[in-house]
Amino acid sequence: MGNVKVRVNISNIARGPSHGKSKVYKLGQEFICTEEEANRLGKDVTVIETLTEPVKPSKSR
C-alpha cells in the first residue's frame, strides 16, 4: 500500500507511535499517512491526494 495525503474532518486526531509523543492534528489540517491508516481513520479524514512512490531503477546484471 502507498501513502496518501489526507485532510482532517473532525475536531482533533492524535497520532503517533505507542512509545512516543503523539501529535494532534486539528480540523482542516493535512498530513501524510499510509492508505491503511487512512482507511482506519475512515470519514474522520478525506484523502486529497494519492502519492506515487518514486520508481526504483532496476539493476542491470
Binding site: 473532525i10 475536531s11 482533533n12 486526531i13 492524535a14 497520532r15 503517533g16 507511535p17 505507542s18 503523539s22 494532534v24 491508516e37 482506519r40 481513520l41 475512515g42 470519514k43 474522520d44
Partner: protein, 289 residues
C-alpha cells in the same frame, strides 16, 4: 380475543424487560429520554457549535453578544424490531391452565432487536458497512485518539485515556472533572481486564481516571476489534448526547385470520428512538488500541 392477545403481550413484556436491560449496552452509555410515543416519527433538535471566545475587561460593553450557534437538525426516528412465532398449543396451554409461559421465542427475538438498537446507538446504522445513514457514538465522535496504544501492553490503556481526556479538555469538555464511561470492543476489554505489571493491576487505575464512570464491553460485531471510546456518563452527558426514545421494548401478538383458532401466534418485539449527538467533541474514539 384481542384482549387476550394484549394480556399475553403484557405478560411477555413483564418477563422480557429485565433480561433485555441486562444485555443492552447502548442505553447505559447515554441519557435516554422518557418514551414520547410510537407515533412520533421525527424530531427537530439542535447541534451546538462553538461560540467565539469570552471577554475580560474592567466594565461591560454592548455589542458583543453571540447568537448561540445551533444548527437545527431533523431526524427520522427508526424502529428496531424482530418478528417471531409462538406455538399455538403452548399459547392455549397458558390460556387454559395458566401454565408457565414460554417466552423463549420472544426473548430470542428481543436479544436480536436489542443488538440492532445497540449497534445503532454505539456505532451507527449502515446498509453497506462503510456509509452510515445514522451516526452512532463511534461514527459521530468529534475526537479520535489514533495513537498506537495496544491494550495488551500494560500502561497503554492509561495512556490512551489520558490522551483522549486531553483532546476533550482542549475542546472545552471538562473531562478531568466529570465521570466518564469507557466502551471497549470485547477483545480490548479482555486485555484490560488481565493487564498487570509486577502485581499492579491496570484496571483500578483506569477506573480512577474515569472519575466514577465504568468500563463496558461491546461485542466486536458492534464495535470493531482494536477500537473503543470515551464519553461522559449519562448523569452528566445529557447536554452532549442523548437517545430520544419514542418506545421502550414492547411486544405485540396476533393470529392468522384464516385460522383464528389454530394458527400459531405471530409476535413482534420492537423499540424506537434516535441518538442525538449535540456536541460531537464530547466523544473521543480510540481507534488504534
Amino acid at each position: 380475543m384481542t384482549n387476550a392477545y394484549t394480556q399475553y403481550s403484557k405478560s411477555v413484556d413483564s418477563e422480557l424487560v429485565q433480561p433485555l436491560q441486562n444485555v443492552t449496552v447502548g442505553r447505559r452509555l447515554v441519557y435516554v429520554t422518557a418514551p414520547k410515543g410510537f407515533g412520533v416519527t421525527s424530531v427537530d433538535w439542535g447541534k451546538i457549535s462553538d461560540m467565539s471566545g469570552g471577554y475580560v475587561s474592567y466594565g461591560f460593553a454592548d455589542g458583543n453578544e453571540d447568537m448561540i450557534d445551533v444548527a437545527l437538525t431533523n431526524s427520522k426516528v427508526p424502529v428496531y424490531w424482530k418478528d417471531y412465532k409462538v406455538d399455538r398449543r403452548l399459547y392455549n396451554g397458558w390460556m387454559i391452565n395458566n401454565t408457565d409461559m414460554d417466552v423463549s421465542a420472544a426473548q430470542s427475538a428481543g436479544y436480536v432487536a436489542t443488538a440492532t438498537e445497540d449497534a445503532a446507538i454505539i456505532n451507527g446504522v449502515t446498509r453497506n458497512g462503510t456509509t452510515y445513514d445514522i451516526n452512532g457514538l463511534y461514527q459521530g465522535a468529534g475526537n479520535n485518539y489514533s495513537t498506537s496504544a495496544d491494550f495488551g501492553t500494560y500502561g497503554n490503556a492509561m495512556a490512551a485515556i489520558a490522551g483522549a481526556k486531553q483532546l476533550m479538555v482542549d475542546d472545552g469538555i471538562p473531562a478531568y472533572n466529570i465521570p466518564l464511561n469507557l466502551a471497549l470492543s470485547s477483545e480490548q476489554y479482555g486485555e484490560l481486564e488481565k493487564s498487570t505489571d509486577n502485581g499492579f493491576d491496570e484496571w483500578p487505575k483506569v477506573l480512577r481516571m474515569l472519575n466514577g464512570g465504568s468500563v463496558y464491553p461491546v461485542p466486536s460485531t458492534v464495535l470493531g476489534v482494536g477500537t473503543g471510546m470515551l464519553l461522559p456518563t449519562p448523569s452528566v452527558g445529557r447536554p452532549y448526547v442523548d437517545f430520544f426514545s419514542t418506545s421502550n421494548f414492547r411486544t405485540e401478538h396476533g393470529v392468522d385470520s384464516k385460522h383464528p383458532d389454530t394458527s400459531d401466534l405471530y409476535g413482534r418485539v420492537y423499540s424506537a428512538g434516535i441518538l442525538r449527538i449535540k456536541h460531537a467533541n464530547a466523544i473521543c474514539k480510540l481507534s488504534n488500541i
